[in-house]
């Protein structure tokens, strides 16, 4: 049968089936099982109304259970068994085997890098774009153009960026933008400004921002009176954890400033960007940042619009400059939204597969967890280790899951 015909039939059967199911099951409930007539009419109506919600919910619950809830447990079980031994229970052997593989640790450390860089960059640029486009006339057009990559598939984005990163031999004209720009630097004054001073300044700003974060995180611990509300007990270790991560990042960025000035760059030679170990991961991350920034921008821009006008007017009257208004009035008021955007992008990053699969397929030390898992499941056919790595992704998602559920419960109560 032709697939198009099959699709039409599926739509008709699927939609018709759903509507038919809902209609007839309701009819059955009201007419046959508990008819709203006769001497038990009142009791019957109540009973029917108790059952009806489950009629409405049944198909969705069934699909959710089968396609999302059941696989979590099935995968957990698969990760504890060995397919070659006929599915025998092997305890944590798959995990042990996985932890011994250097490729897994490569994927893990790359994923951590992705988790820091992509949400931070997307949110920061998105916030910048939201603020800049907020008050200008053609802001909506600008926003929809920055938002556009959202509609492009990861695979399409991979092709787009492969063209940007393309490399030709030194004696030919470069057709990749990045190499064309790179070859314009010759080690002169311009190169020093753009490739050493500007990055060093950016790193310094980043380090200063982190130092501010450390200060904010540690302050309530040192001076107990600042915490107005009684915070839950687990805030203290959480704050300490963030402070330690931030200090570590400060250390890293200060080290990078040094290496920016000491590095000898190979001017005049076209680079194969995607095969440079360590840096190639950043070139892949740029693709995801490019896609996700629009998302961050749209949501943050709505949040900025929602800030009460009075708070800004009051700040203007008090003589605050635009930067103070932005950092001290606007950002604190949309902090909640920034967190939501950050976590949403974090989840996207954890699942990132297509970009790495299409651009490097995990070669040249660009492996990430999702692609590692695909490798194990469908190339090595090792279901145990593949499922174990899927469980690692699940484990990394769990804190966000718990946080979301906690918030949802708070809201519906």
């Amino acid at each position: 049968m032709h697939p198009a015909l099959q699709a039409v039939i599926t739509i008709i059967v699927g939609v018709g089936g759903c509507v038919g199911y809902f209609y007839f099951s309701n009819q059955f409930l009201d007419r046959v099982l508990y008819p709203a007539t006769g001497k038990n009419a009142g009791r019957n109506i109540n009973r029917a109304n108790q059952i009806r919600p489950w009629l409405f919910l049944f198909p969705a619950l069934f699909a959710l259970g089968l396609y999302l809830a059941y696989p979590v447990f099935a995968t957990l079980w698969l990760s504890l068994t060995d397919r070659d031994q006929g599915g025998a229970f092997v305890g944590l052997a798959n995990y042990q085997q996985m932890f011994r593989e250097p490729k897994f640790w490569e994927a893990m450390s790359n994923n951590m890098l992705w988790l820091i860089v992509v949400p931070a960059m997307s949110t920061a640029i998105g916030l910048l774009a939201a603020q800049l486009t907020d008050r200008i006339k053609w802001g909506n057009i600008a926003k929809s153009l920055i938002f556009m990559p959202m509609a492009i598939s990861f695979v399409g984005a991979a092709v787009i960026w492969k063209l940007v990163y393309d490399t030709r031999p030194a004696n030919q004209e470069q057709i990749g933008v990045l190499n064309a720009v790179w070859l314009m630097f010759d080690g002169g004054f311009g190169s020093i400004v753009f490739l050493q001073i500007v990055p060093a300044l950016l790193l310094a700003v980043f380090a200063a921002f982190l130092a501010w974060l450390v200060y904010q995180a540690v302050r309530p611990l040192v001076n107990a009176e600042i915490g107005h509300r009684k915070a839950p007990w687990w805030f203290t270790p959480l704050r300490l954890f963030f402070a330690i991560v931030a200090v570590w990042l400060i250390w890293l960025s200060l080290g990078s400033i040094l290496s920016v000035f000491s590095a000898r760059l190979p001017y005049g030679q076209p680079q194969t960007w995607l095969t440079m170990p360590f840096w190639n991961s950043f070139f892949l991350m740029a693709v995801l940042v490019w896609i996700q920034t629009g998302f961050a921008m749209v949501i943050l821009s709505a949040a900025i619009r929602g800030i009460p006008e009075e708070t800004i007017e009051a700040a203007v009257i008090d003589g605050a400059n635009p930067f103070q208004i932005f950092f001290k009035i606007k950002v604190p008021q949309i902090m909640g939204t920034i967190v939501v955007v950050w976590t949403t992008i974090t989840i996207v990053v954890l699942k990132v597969f297509d970009i790495v699969f299409a651009m490097t397929n995990g070669q040249w030390q660009t492996q990430v967890l999702a692609n590692y898992m695909y490798d194990k499941l469908f190339r090595a056919n090792d279901w145990g280790v593949g499922s174990a790595s899927a469980m690692i992704i699940m484990l990394l998602v769990t804190p966000i899951l718990a946080w979301n559920v906690y918030n949802a419960r708070k809201e519906t109560r």
Binding site: P3, Q6, A7, C18, L57, Y67, I152, V159, N404, R413
Partner: protein
């Protein structure tokens, strides 16, 4: 007041310029691919796409002369044109790869044995010799020419309509469409009913179910691959359209239920209660009142699900594409091309653009609903 406005104006300019730069930076990669899809393989390989907009002077690849010999005034003469296009202007030319810019247009080059060659600025050449050129190969010429921007639809013709092109996108395009449409419509129907129950019906465990939906929202679908593939194989669906429709339905449901419930909860209570008082059943209320009022939310989810299924690679790889490759989708086809045709940018760019075009149209046409959905989906 005057002081502040004059102090502000440089800042306003800075804002405008920054936004222009940001937008340009964000558009640049996509435009590059778009422009490349209209250039020939030769053009792409020789110059960056950003140069294609302008008339450019560049050295062209060597052209071997060809033409029919004619006898004029006791001389053997071959005349012809170097380029099919007539708007090319040659600035220098040569017959030797070591000195490709030896002559000006109109000058006469000595080819040895008394043979001469003249090339005019418009590409017309005249070669003459006292002896016949015979069957030997004619000389190659090197030209440096100004060429105006030149674009072609040839790539699209090849990628979409050439029946001999086994790597064409036409079949993959229809396969993608076949996956996408049912996978978008069916979850909407199922989710709408569930969302109504979660929003407007009272029953024990409701808030628990809502929390469960929120939790499932972030469960990575990576976990579902093996157990469900196994399940599909066990119940006889195997790899195919039915499997991929079901999988997309399952994976799309949490977001669908979440978005629709959030929207339906906000609908005015009076309307629904008045209808109840008038004796409408829940089914009637749902079909006649809730569904029409929820159109914006339905549209936003439909766009999400459409973009997501159209752009998906992983679910199609696992649940749909079997070893025959008959059911390949566009994303998979492009990944294949990246492997086998990594250097053929004209084919890659065109294929990628064919797959990007439909989502882009949907995006720009229905951006309003997309933004609305995003906002209700993530802002508390």
């Amino acid at each position: 007041m005057n002081v502040t406005s004059s102090k502000k104006s440089p800042l306003v300019w800075a804002v405008h310029i920054s936004v222009v730069l940001l937008v340009a930076l964000w558009l640049f990669p996509t435009v590059g691919l778009f422009v490349s899809s209209f250039r020939t393989a030769d053009q792409i390989a020789n110059t960056g796409w950003w140069a294609s907009m302008f008339t450019q002077e560049r050295q062209r690849p060597a052209i071997r002369l060809s033409g029919d010999e004619a006898q004029v005034d006791g001389e053997f003469v071959i005349e012809g044109r170097l380029f099919a296009a007539d708007n090319v202007v040659i600035s220098r030319w040569g017959v030797n790869s070591r000195d490709p810019e030896a002559y000006e247009p109109g000058e006469e080059a000595d080819l040895g044995d008394g043979a001469n060659l003249t090339i005019e600025a418009n590409g017309a050449f005249r070669m003459s010799s006292p002896q016949s050129f015979g069957d030997g190969r004619l000389p190659r010429v090197f030209t440096t020419a100004e060429a105006p921007p030149e674009f072609t639809l040839q790539n699209y013709r090849f990628v979409l309509f050439d029946p001999n092109n086994r790597e064409g996108m036409a079949k993959a395009f229809f396969n993608t469409m076949t996956v996408t449409i049912p996978a978008t419509i069916i979850p909407i129907v199922i989710a709408a009913f569930a969302a109504y129950a979660l929003a407007w019906m009272r029953f024990p465990g409701r808030s628990l179910l809502i929390a469960a939906v929120v939790g499932l929202l972030v469960v990575p679908l990576q976990l579902a691959l093996i157990p469900l593939l196994k399940l599909h194989n066990d119940i006889g669906i195997g790899k195919g359209y039915l499997g991929v429709w079901l999988a997309h339905t399952g994976f799309g449901l949490p977001l669908a239920i979440y978005l629709l419930r959030n929207y339906m909860v906000g609908l005015p209570r009076d309307i629904i209660e008045n209808a109840r008082v008038d004796g409408a059943t829940d089914f009637q209320i749902f079909v006649k009142i809730i569904l029409p009022l929820s159109f914006p939310a339905l549209a936003s989810f439909a766009i999400f699900q459409f973009l997501w299924t159209w752009n998906d690679l992983l679910v199609a790889l696992v649940f749909l594409i079997d070893s025959t490759g008959e059911t390949t989708v566009m994303t998979k086809q492009i990944v294949e091309l990246l492997g086998t045709r990594g250097g053929n940018w004209e084919i890659l760019a065109t294929s990628a653009f064919v797959s990007i075009a439909v989502p882009l149209v949907v995006f720009f046409a229905m951006q309003k609903y997309l933004v609305r959905g995003l906002l209700s989906g993530s802002v508390k």
